[in-house]
C-alpha cells in the first residue's frame, strides 16, 4: 500500500471512529437521562414559545386597545390570587366608554431585567401593542443582585440592525458578549433552534441527574445525601440576610440590591444607558411607553436607618432617561407600606382588596389611560363589508 493511500486510510479511520465515539457518548448521555428520569430547570429556551403565544394573543385581540405589560416576577400570580395584570384588566373592564377600554397582555420572565427585555425588544415591537407598560424593578438597576445574566441566549433575538448599538451598551458585563450575540443570531437565522434546544435540554437534564445517582449511591453504600445542600444554602442565605423574625432583608442585603439607587445614580450609569436604548427602540417604532417604577419597601429601609441621600437624584436620573427616550415615568416607589410587601424581594401582596396589588392597579391603570392613544374609530359598515370580502 502506498504512503498516500495509508495516510488516507488512517484519516478515514480517525474520522469514522471520531463519529462513533461521539455517537456512543451522546447515547450514553441519553441513557443516563432516561434512567435517572431527571427533569430540567427553566432555561432561556422556554422563552420563545412564551413570546410567540403572547404575540399571538395580542395580535388576535380585537379590542379597542392592547397594552403590553412587560416585567418580571412582580407580574406573577399566586395560587388563587389575582396578579397585577389581572387587576389591571378588571380595572379597564370597569371603565365606561370606548375611550377608556383596553386589554392588558402580560409578558413576564423571572429576573430578566432590562438586559433580557432589550434582547426581546424587537419581538415586543412586532406584536404592535398600542402602549407598553414597562416595569422598572429597582433591583434591576443594580448589576450585582441578579447575578450574571442567566439567559444569554436571548441575544439571538437582537436584530442585526441593533448590533452596533448593542456592542456599545454594557451588555457584555452580564455575559452578552459579541461572539455570543453573533452565534445565537446565527442559530436563529439558520433555523437551528430545534437541535440547539435538544442539546441544551439534554445538558440541563444531565446536570440534574446527579440527585438520582446520589440516591442510588446512598442506598448502596450508606452515608449522607447532599441533595438538600443547595436548598439549605438558599435557606441559609435567606436567614442570614433577613432581619430576625421578619421576612425582610438586612441592611447588608439591601445595600447590595439597591445600594446604587439609594446612593444616587447618574443618567449615564450602565443600567440606565440600557434602559434608554430599550425605550428608544419602542419610541422609534411609534409605540408610547409608560415606565412604572415598582414599589420598594421605604418604611423598612427607614427602619434600618439606611440613607436616602441619593434616592431623589436617582429617580431624577431615571426620569431624565425615560423622558429623553420619549416615554413617561410613573413613580410608585414609595406607594406601599411595609405591611403590603410579602417578602424581602419587595414583591407586594396580592390577596384581598387591601393588598399591594389592589392599591397599585388602579393607579397604574390611570397612568396607562393617560398615555394610551385614543382607539381608532370603529370600522364603518362599508369597511366591515370590505373586510368580510377579504
Amino acid at each position: 500500500m502506498s504512503t498516500r493511500a495509508r495516510a488516507v486510510l488512517r484519516a478515514m479511520s480517525f474520522v469514522l471512529s471520531f463519529a462513533m465515539g461521539s455517537a456512543l457518548a451522546w447515547s450514553l448521555g441519553g441513557w443516563v437521562v432516561a434512567k435517572s428520569g431527571a427533569a430540567r430547570n427553566g432555561t432561556a429556551l422556554d422563552l420563545p414559545p412564551l413570546v410567540h403565544k403572547w404575540r399571538a394573543r395580542m395580535m388576535n385581540d380585537g379590542g379597542p386597545r392592547r397594552i403590553a405589560i412587560v416585567g418580571d416576577s412582580m407580574l406573577f400570580a399566586l395560587p388563587g390570587m389575582p396578579s397585577l395584570p389581572d387587576r389591571l384588566n378588571a380595572f379597564f373592564r370597569h371603565q365606561k366608554g370606548r375611550n377608556r377600554q383596553a386589554t392588558v397582555h402580560p409578558l413576564s420572565w423571572p429576573a430578566w431585567s432590562m438586559i433580557g427585555q432589550y434582547c426581546v425588544a424587537d419581538e415586543i415591537v412586532a406584536a404592535k401593542p398600542d402602549l407598553i407598560a414597562l416595569e422598572l424593578n429597582a433591583r434591576s438597576l443594580e448589576p450585582g443582585p441578579l447575578g450574571i445574566f442567566s439567559y444569554t441566549e436571548m441575544a439571538g433575538w437582537i436584530e442585526p440592525r441593533r448590533w452596533l448599538e448593542a456592542m456599545r451598551l454594557p451588555l457584555w458585563d452580564a455575559g452578552v458578549t459579541l461572539n455570543r450575540l453573533l452565534f445565537y443570531r446565527l442559530l436563529v437565522a439558520a433555523e437551528l433552534e430545534a437541535p440547539w434546544r435538544a442539546l441544551i435540554d439534554r445538558q440541563a437534564r444531565l446536570l440534574n441527574s446527579r440527585d438520582p445517582v446520589e440516591d442510588w449511591l446512598v442506598k448502596k453504600m450508606g452515608g449522607i445525601t447532599t441533595q438538600g445542600a443547595s436548598f439549605m444554602s438558599s435557606f441559609g442565605t435567606q436567614i442570614r440576610y433577613s432581619v430576625p423574625g421578619k421576612n425582610r432583608g438586612t441592611a447588608e442585603m439591601l445595600d447590595r440590591q439597591i445600594g446604587s439607587l439609594m446612593r444616587g445614580m447618574d443618567a449615564d450609569s450602565p443600567r440606565l444607558r440600557l434602559l434608554g436604548a430599550l425605550l428608544r427602540r419602542f419610541h422609534e417604532a411609534g409605540i408610547p411607553t409608560v415606565v412604572w417604577l415598582s414599589p420598594i419597601n421605604v418604611e423598612h429601609l427607614k427602619s434600618l436607618g439606611m440613607s436616602f441621600a441619593g434616592l431623589d437624584h436617582s429617580i431624577a436620573s431615571v426620569r431624565a432617561v425615560v423622558e429623553a427616550s420619549g416615554a413617561e415615568l410613573a413613580d410608585f416607589h414609595g406607594l406601599l407600606p411595609d405591611a403590603l410587601f410579602r417578602d424581602a424581594g419587595d414583591h407586594f401582596t396580592l390577596d384581598g382588596e387591601h393588598s399591594g396589588g389592589a392599591i397599585l392597579a388602579p393607579r397604574l391603570g390611570r397612568a396607562l389611560l393617560r398615555a394610551v392613544p385614543s382607539p381608532a374609530p370603529p370600522p364603518s359598515t362599508k369597511e366591515n363589508a370590505a373586510r368580510a370580502v377579504q
Partner: protein, 467 residues
C-alpha cells in the same frame, strides 16, 4: 470567547482555514488579526485599551533601545502598565478601603466600580512588563511592532496565560509555526484532556457541591465542609489547569509550544515545591521580576524572609482586589517563611516521588486546602465561618457519599496525570506507529468532545478569567 464554546470552534476553524490557505509569509499577520478579533469578539470596546497600552509601551521600548538611560524608560513602562492595571483592578477596592480615612474617596467609588475589569489585563500586563525588562537587560532584541503585538495578544494565551516570556515565544513567532502531524495530534489530545478537566470534572462534578457549601458556610455539618474544601481544591485545579491544557493544545495545533503551567501541584512535599508546580508561569514571573529585584536571598536571612512575604502578598493581590486574596497570599508567604525558618531543604520538583513522601504530601495538601478557604469565600467573616464549620464535628454521623466519591476520583486522576505525563512521549510514539492508533484516537477524542459538550450545562466561565 471561551475555549469550551461552539463560537470558539467556529473561530478556530476560520483561523486554521486562513493559515492553510494563505501564503506562509502572511502567517504573522493572520495570527495578529485572529488574536485581535478573538479579543474584540468578546468586548470590542476593550480593544482600544489593549492596543493603547501596547502602542505606548512599544514606543517606550524603542526609545529605551536608542537612549543612553534605558532605566528611565523601563521605569515609565512599568509605572504606566501598573497604573492602568491598578486603576481597573484595584481602583474601587482602594477607594473603598480609604473611605474611612479620606471621606472624599467614597465619592469616587461608584465611578471606579463602574470600570469593568478588561479580560486578561492581569496576564498581559505582566507580559508587557517582562518584555520591557528583558529588552532593557539585553536578554532580548527589540522585536518589530507586529511581533510585539502578537507576542502579547497571541490568542491561545491572551486572557488567562500561561504568562509567557519573550525568549520562549518570540523566536517561535519569528520563525513561524511548525505544524506537523505529531504536534497536531498532541495538541488535540491536550485540548481534549483540558476540555474534560474543565467541563466534566470542574463544572459538572465538583462545582454543584462547592457552590452551596461555600455560599453559606457553617450551615452544613463538619464532613460536608471537609469534602467541600477538598472539592474546591480540585475544582480550581481542574478549572485552571484545564484551561492551560486547552491553551497549550490550541497553540500546538497552530504549530507553537507554550510552557506547562501545572505539574500535579497536590503531590508537592513542601511549600517551595508547591510553587514550582502550581501556576508555574506566574511563580517564575514573581520570582524573576519581583523577588529577585527586591534582593532575593542575597541580602541576608531577614531580608530574604521579608522578600518572600512581600512577593507572596503581592502575588495574592494579583489574584484579585480583596483582603481575602491578600490573606491567601500572606498565608502562603508564612508557609514559605516557616519552612525556611525550620531550615528544611528545598526540593527540586523533578525529584521522584517515593512512598516515604506520602506523609509530607498529605500534610502539604491539607495546608494548601486550608489556605484555599479565604480565597473562595466571599469575605473574611465567611472564611471564619467555614473554619468553624470544619471544626463543628459530626464526623461520625456519616459522610456526603457522592461528593466524597468525586473527590476520590479526582485524587486518583491527579495521580494518574503524573503517571501519564512521565510516559507521554512513549504513548504518543506508540499511538503514532500502531495501525489502530488513529481509530483509537478518533474514538477517544469524539467521545471526550461529546461528553464535554454534554456536561457543559452549568456554562461556567473559567475561575481565573476574573483575575
Amino acid at each position: 470567547m471561551l475555549f469550551n464554546s461552539f463560537q470558539f470552534a467556529l473561530f478556530f476553524a476560520v483561523v486554521m482555514g486562513a493559515l492553510v490557505a494563505l501564503p506562509r509569509r502572511l502567517e504573522g499577520r493572520v495570527l495578529v488579526a485572529a488574536s485581535l478579533s478573538f479579543y474584540a469578539l468578546w468586548v470590542p470596546s476593550l480593544l482600544p485599551l489593549l492596543m493603547g497600552l501596547l502602542a505606548g509601551n512599544y514606543l517606550l521600548v524603542r526609545m529605551m533601545v536608542k537612549s543612553g538611560h534605558p532605566g528611565r524608560y523601563v521605569a515609565v513602562s512599568v509605572v504606566l502598565t501598573l497604573s492602568v492595571l491598578s486603576l481597573y483592578k484595584y481602583g474601587a477596592f482602594a477607594a473603598e478601603s480609604l473611605a474611612p480615612l479620606v471621606p472624599s474617596a467614597h465619592r469616587a467609588v461608584p465611578k471606579l466600580a463602574a470600570l469593568v475589569l478588561p479580560f486578561g489585563i492581569s496576564f498581559y500586563s505582566f507580559e508587557i512588563i517582562s518584555l520591557s525588562v528583558d529588552i532593557r537587560h539585553g536578554r532580548l532584541p527589540c522585536p518589530s511592532f507586529g511581533r510585539y503585538v502578537l507576542f502579547v495578544t497571541f490568542f491561545p494565551h491572551l486572557v488567562a496565560g500561561p504568562i509567557m516570556r519573550g525568549e520562549e515565544l518570540l523566536p517561535q513567532l519569528e520563525n513561524g509555526g511548525r505544524r506537523t502531524p505529531e504536534r497536531t495530534r498532541r495538541g488535540l489530545w491536550l485540548f481534549a484532556v483540558g476540555l474534560l478537566k474543565k467541563t466534566l470534572l470542574s463544572d459538572f462534578l465538583l462545582l454543584p457541591f462547592v457552590t452551596p457549601a461555600f455560599t453559606t458556610p457553617g450551615v452544613l455539618e463538619g464532613p460536608a465542609h471537609l469534602v467541600a474544601m477538598y472539592s474546591f481544591a480540585f475544582q480550581i485545579y481542574f478549572d485552571f489547569s484545564g484551561y492551560s491544557d486547552m491553551a497549550r493544545g490550541i497553540a500546538c495545533v497552530l504549530g507553537y509550544e507554550l510552557p506547562t503551567n501545572f505539574e500535579e501541584p497536590y503531590l508537592s512535599r513542601d511549600p517551595s515545591e508547591f510553587w514550582q508546580r502550581w501556576h508555574i508561569t506566574l511563580s517564575r514571573w514573581l520570582r524573576d521580576y519581583l523577588y529577585v529585584p527586591l534582593g532575593g536571598n542575597r541580602r541576608g536571612p531577614a531580608r530574604t524572609l521579608a522578600n518572600l512575604m512581600i512577593t507572596m502578598l503581592l502575588g495574592g493581590l494579583w489574584h484579585g482586589a480583596g483582603f481575602n486574596f491578600i490573606l491567601w497570599g500572606g498565608l502562603h508567604g508564612l508557609l514559605l517563611v516557616g519552612y525556611r525558618l525550620l531550615g528544611r531543604r528545598t526540593r527540586e520538583h523533578a525529584e521522584p516521588l517515593r512512598w516515604a513522601d506520602l506523609p509530607r504530601v498529605l500534610v502539604m495538601f491539607h495546608l494548601v486546602c486550608l489556605i484555599w478557604i479565604p480565597f473562595r469565600t466571599a469575605s473574611f467573616k465567611d472564611a471564619i465561618l467555614f473554619y468553624r464549620g470544619l471544626a463543628s464535628g459530626g464526623y461520625l454521623h456519616g459522610w456526603p457519599i457522592l461528593p466524597l466519591a468525586i473527590v476520590c476520583l479526582c485524587a486518583a486522576l491527579h495521580l494518574l496525570e503524573r503517571a501519564i505525563r512521565e510516559r507521554l512521549p512513549l504513548l504518543h510514539a506508540k499511538l503514532a506507529g500502531a495501525w489502530w492508533g488513529p481509530a483509537f484516537e478518533g474514538l477517544m477524542m469524539g467521545g471526550a468532545l461529546t461528553i464535554a459538550i454534554l456536561s457543559s450545562g452549568a456554562g461556567v466561565q473559567f475561575i481565573y478569567f476574573q483575575f
